[in-house]
C-alpha cells in the first residue's frame, strides 16, 4: 500500500517536489512519508529511510531551495568528518563524476554548511528541475551515509543508534 499522500498544495514547484518524494514512498523506499505545508510557502517533509530514523527535509517554494536541515547533528566544523562530507558534496559537480552522479549546476546547485553543530545540505533548484534535484539529492544523501558507515561508524553509533556490535 502506498504511503499516505501529503496534503501540501503550495503551487507547482511544491507539488513537484512532493510528488517526487512521494514516488519514493510509493516504491517502499521511504516509510511514514508526510508532507505538511508550513509558513511562507514552505513544505516540510518527514519520512523514515536510512537507519530506520525519521529524516526531515523542507522545500522553500519561493526560493526554490530543498534543504535537509541538521541532516547530521553534532558535527564539529572543519573536523575530518565534516571535511569528508563537504568534499563529497563539492565534488558532485566535477566533470570526472559519472554522468548519473554528476549534478549539473545549471539545473541544481549544492551546498553544505555546519551551523550550531548541525551539518545541513541544501539544493537550490534551477528552473523546473525539481524531479532532477530530488533524485540527485537523495542519491547524494545515501552516499553521505555510506561515508559515515565506512569511516565514522562511531558517529552513527552515537547519533543514529547504529549497533556498536
Amino acid at each position: 500500500m502506498a504511503a499516505k499522500r501529503g496534503t501540501a498544495t503550495t503551487g507547482g514547484a511544491g507539488e513537484a517536489v512532493t510528488a517526487a518524494l512521494q514516488a519514493y514512498a510509493d516504491r517502499g523506499v521511504f516509510r511514514g512519508f508526510r508532507a505538511v505545508p508550513a509558513a511562507r510557502g514552505c513544505v516540510e517533509y518527514e519520512f523514515v529511510w536510512l537507519l530506520g530514523r525519521t529524516m526531515r527535509a523542507t522545500f522553500d517554494t519561493a526560493r526554490g531551495v530543498l534543504a535537509f536541515p541538521a541532516l547530521f547533528p553534532g558535527v564539529e566544523p572543519r573536523s575530518p568528518m565534516a571535511r569528508a562530507l563537504d568534499a563529497l558534496v563539492h565534488t558532485r559537480t566535477d566533470r570526472g563524476q559519472p554522468a548519473h552522479k554528476r549534478v549539473d549546476a545549471r539545473r541544481a546547485r549544492l551546498s553544505s554548511a555546519v551551523s550550531k553543530g548541525d551539518w545541513s545540505l541544501t539544493v537550490h533548484v534551477r528552473g523546473a528541475n525539481h524531479d532532477y534535484a530530488v533524485q540527485r539529492a537523495l542519491n547524494l544523501v545515501n552516499e553521505l551515509f555510506l561515508i559515515l558507515h565506512e569511516s565514522y561508524p562511531e558517529y552513527l553509533i552515537e547519533r543514529f543508534g547504529l549497533s556498536p556490535e
Partner: protein
Amino acid sequence: MTKRFVRTPDTSRRRFLKRAVAGAGATAAAALTGTGTAASGETLATGQDHVNPIAPIGVPAEFAASASADPKTFDFPMTGAQVFARACKEEGVAALFTCPGNYPVIHAIASAGIPAFGGRHEGSMAHAADAFIRVTGELAVTSGTEGPGFTDMICAIACANAARTPLLVLASNMTIGMEDTEAGIQLAYQQPTTEGMKKYGKRLIVPRRVHEYAGYAFRQLRSGVPRPVHLDFPAEVASATFKSATELDYFHDKSRYRTESRPHPSSKDIAAALDLLRKAERPIIVSSNGVFYAKAWDALKRFAEKAQIPVVESGAMKGQFSDASPLSANAAPGALASADVVVLVGQHCMPTVGEFAFGPDARYIRIDQSAEDIGRNIPIDVGIVSCELAALEALADATPRITHDAWLAEIAAARKKFEDQNLENYKIGLSYGDAVHPAVIAKELGDFLYRGALPKEQTSVASGGFGIARYVRRELRGFRPGQVMNGAYQYGAIGPDVGYAVGVAAAVQLGVGPQAAYKGHPVICTTGDAGFGYTCMEIDTMGKYKLPVVVIVYNNNAWGTWTGATQDPRALPIHLFQENLRYDKLAEALGGHGEYVTRPAAFRPALERAYQVAAREGRPAVINCQGKKEFWDRAKFPPGSLGKIEPGVMSYYH
C-alpha cells in the same frame, strides 16, 4: 605418571616453579617435534627430593587406531541410535562435531564411518559444524549431552540459524520415563529452548518412529531455505532394539521420503527480469548463501559474463564468484550506490532499506526458494520463486549478450580507489612501529595468501574478530567457492572463531565439496583477543586431529567495545584485559606452535614460519600480534576504528 624418578642435583621447588611457567611452551613444542623435554633433561618434581621426566604432549595411539578401524555397516537387529546413524550415512552426512554425551547416537554415527571430531566444548564444536557446512555445502551433525552439553550449544545454534546453515543438532541422554522427576542430573526441556532458532525440531518419543523422524529432519535440511534442525533422543529411543524393518514406521530409502526436485522459475518471471535488466544501465547481482548451497556458481558465472553484469557477494560464505574476474564488485564499495537494478540471488538473510549501499533509485529482482520471504524488508520489482541454480541457468540461457562498458569502468575505478585506500592504511599502520597495527596484518596477510608463492585460490579462511575484522576483510578475497567463511555473520557472536576454524580445517583435511582440490592445505583463522578467549581450548582439538590452522590473534588488550566507555572510568575496566597476554604460549601449552609479534616488520616472517609448521607438521599455530587498544582512536592513531559497507568484502551483517 611414571614411577621412575630421576634425581638431579640442582632440583628445587623454586626451580620447578620457574620452569613450569617459563618452559611450558618449549615443552609442548619440543614434544611434538619428537624431542620431548624428558630427553633434554627437563624434569618434574614429585616430592621433596624426587623429580620425574615431563611426559611430552602427544596424540594418543587410539587416534591412529581409530583412523584404521573399519566402519560398521548397520543392519538389523539395530538400536534406535544405529537406525539413525545409518540414515545419516545414507544421507551423506559428512562429519560429526561433538563432545562426549548422547553416547549411543554419537558412537553409532562415528562407528558408521562418518568422520567424527571430539572437542573441548559443545559450543565450539557446534560452531565447527556450522563452519564445516558453510565451506562445503554438505551436511554435518553436532551433538551434546542433554542438559549442559545442549545448553552449551545454544549460541552456536543461534549463529547457524542466522547464517541459514543446514545444521543438524542432536542431543540427549535422559529418559522420557523419568521426565519431571529431577532424578539424576542434566534433564532439560530442549525443544522450547531452541524456539526461534531452528527450522524444525522434535523430541523423539516413540521409538519405532526414529527413522521416520530422520526423514523429517533430512527433508528440512535438504530443501528450501536451510536452517538448523534439532532432534533430541531420549534414552528409550536411542537404546530401543529393532529386530527387523517391520518394527519401524516408514523405513524407506531416502528417495521415498524426500525429493531432489526443486522449484523452477516461470518463463513469465524470467522475461520480466530480463526486461528490467535490458533497460538497466548499471545492473548488479548480489550472490549470497543460496547460490552456494545450490552449487550455482557456474550458472552465475555464465549469466554474469553473458550479460556483463558485475557481481558482489554477501552472506555467510564467499567465493562463489571469483574476485579475479573484472566483473567482481566485491572490493568496489564506492560503486555500489550507482546500481540501478539489483538482482538478489539466494539472499536469505535480508537487509532492510539502507543496510545495503544501493541508492534510492535501485530496482530489485529477488530470486529465492521461499515465496513467503520475497518482498520482506526490501520491496521488489520482480520476484522469482525458484531454486537459485534453475533461475540463474534460465537467465543465462535467455539473456541477450549485453555490454555495460561505462559501468564496468566505474566498478574498476571504485576498486582501485578502495585498494589505494587500503594501501594508504597500510603505510600509516607501518608508521606505528611500537606495536602491530591491524592494517599491517591485513595487507601482509593478503600479500601472503594472494600475491606470493601460494596459489591464490588455495587457502580457506575462517574470517573472524571484531575490530581486526574491519581491516582484514578489506583484504580477504575469494577465488573459488567456500574459500572464505564469513565469521559470526548476522548473529554477531564474537567468540566462535577458533571453533569455526576447526570446522573449516576439518573440511579441508577431508577434502569435502569445493575443498576437494585443496585437501590437506593449511587454513587461516583471523580473530581478536576477545574472541580467542571463548574457544581457544580448541587448539587442543586441532592438535589431536592434526588440523593445520594458523590462528592470527589481534591482541589489543581489550574488547573492541572499550571506546564506548572512555568517559566512564568505573565502567572502563569491564572492557579491558590484562595487557600483553601470551596467547602464543597458551598455544604452545596445548601442543601448537606460538609466535609473539610486537613490531610490524616481524609479522610476515612469523606468518611464514607458522604456515610452514602447519603445512609440514599438521600442527596448529597461533600468531599473537601485539597491538594496542588506542589504535581504535582515530584522533590519535588514524585511520582508527573502521566501519563497513555492505555487500562485498566488508559485509558480515547480511
